[in-house]
Symmetry: C2
Subunit: 367 residues, 2 copies
Amino acid sequence: MPQISASRRLRRTPFSEGVEAAGVKGYTVYNRMLLPTVFESVEADYRHLKTHVQVWDVSCERQVELRGPDAARLMQMLTPRDLRGMLPGQCFYVPIVDETGGMLNDPVAVKLSEDRWWISIADSDLLLWVKGIAVGYRLDVLVDEPDVSPLAVQGPKADELMARVFGDRVRDIRFFKFDMFEFEGRDLAVARSGYSKQGGFEIYVEGVDIGMPLWNALFAAGEDLHVRAGCPNLIERIEGGLLSYGNDMTDDNTPHECGLGKFCNTHTAIGCIGRDALLRVAKEGPVQQIRPIAIDGDPVPGCDRPWDLFASGKRVGQVTSAAWSPDFETNVAIGMVRLSHWDAGTELEVETPAGMRRATVQSHFWI
Amino acid sequence: MPQISASRRLRRTPFSEGVEAAGVKGYTVYNRMLLPTVFESVEADYRHLKTHVQVWDVSCERQVELRGPDAARLMQMLTPRDLRGMLPGQCFYVPIVDETGGMLNDPVAVKLSEDRWWISIADSDLLLWVKGIAVGYRLDVLVDEPDVSPLAVQGPKADELMARVFGDRVRDIRFFKFDMFEFEGRDLAVARSGYSKQGGFEIYVEGVDIGMPLWNALFAAGEDLHVRAGCPNLIERIEGGLLSYGNDMTDDNTPHECGLGKFCNTHTAIGCIGRDALLRVAKEGPVQQIRPIAIDGDPVPGCDRPWDLFASGKRVGQVTSAAWSPDFETNVAIGMVRLSHWDAGTELEVETPAGMRRATVQSHFWI
């Protein structure tokens, strides 16, 4: 691939200096911000992530902050997930839908207090949708992007590394919960979460100025743990079935098509803007859905556009993410498949740049 | 710079095949789509653009389509520019502002008919803001992104090339007007516009399928005109004072700070959401504003983050775009400067990665 041209528009992060010193080799752009994609090689990064511990610059998971008396009401308007039982200190994965039930983002909502929320977003300017809704409905709420840049610590040794920097209390954080921890006199939210299946944390770093001090503290504390800079890993996230907004789903898709029906409480999520549109699909189910798919043969090239899936020459879906898995010795992939052909074991054909290949629908992801 | 990693999320365009065959060397990401930045070299591309004619894949200028009885009302809600006198067939450069008067985008509005508009956007998901407003105000309008990908033909020989493909009638299109032209049985809007000061057109290509046929027709017709693939050129656009949303301005800035006060009819643009917020700045003027700035010395490196401007050691602004201009034999730059130091001829200092340099505020851009 060609080089990426630098400009202010592709925003640097509080950790860019560390990322560059660590020898980043590839970037993508995510929320108009640089997101590393490879350090040593995608396969070497994968092996290291599954063995040791990595520090990830995921500043591009920007926050949309809702603050004020109508914050909770607005948050519920955005998602079909029922938020009534959610407590401060919890993180909820929430599909965000428009008035037609189309996915606008699949972020994590962070409830700081009754009247203060962060939405930790995937790749779309969700801020603009939320601001438009707040203005249009004349809600009593402030909506903006705070100076918060998440830093992830991921891998089997993440607990040990984090305990050395933040104290043993981090070990007690439960999955998708967060608590406040002090670093250099500042209180930071630390959640047990992250875009891998290897376990770990996300630190919501408030203030650009403490970015590099925290980065350096983690590296200094983890030398004997083989800590190194990393990033969301294509192979590992496909194996684990972690979806990517813009790759595996777009605003053309409902949450049910994305297999996120379990996060939709369409009957009780009163106030959700897309609720009416989703009631029917919630009842009858979608006609296509995300599936894990194994692709036979040699390693496939990168999936930079949808690859059509065929059954007896008829198009029945598409693959949108794919990579060779060293651990499972097959090409692992994520695709959207029609109801008629989505049963586990169904054999299809997929048109890759390397030619037509046999593809088999799996019963579950590779975890 | 490192490589850019391919994924479906960084969308390809109807012309990507042609761009790749032409040997694109660099990309940026714009509206989650690939936008070429360099073919031969930025300087060679610049010389060619000013001498011959280039075909640019600017598909990333996505369209937001407004359709329905409330389309014109919604369009006026988005901008402080008074649209009452605008006729079908006209293109208007329109600042788009939020309820605080902050710039959300600086697109070109294309009026197809009273109840059908395109907004040809700069780099932000304006679709989400427009949809949010339409939903919140319960407007009777459809808002979506149509299958339209602009292709620009720019340079001094653009008229000749376009006339060979679309007929001599294209020569009659006046600046920022458009008319309909046939290509392979399809009617396409062709406007005299584009992101350069060398003259030319933008073709609103409706339908992915005719992308490469049109690309190929332009290259076949222009061989003796030395037509080649090009892209918005950093040097030429700074010389010409063409602003870049996300580089030279963000939602922190009002249109008046961006020097776009002439496109704001704050008193008569009734219905504009940011009107109240802009009334005071419209009357009293902004405290900082975009200025052309010359930077002394050798060619500066790329401006990938704001460079602070100083006067007697005090920060008085920042530079956000800069490049060495072969024609003007100086570093040309765009910056935002405080009122106290924005007069033409004011000498400042700018902190570049190549060290502190003398910078001089100019009376006008280099055109």
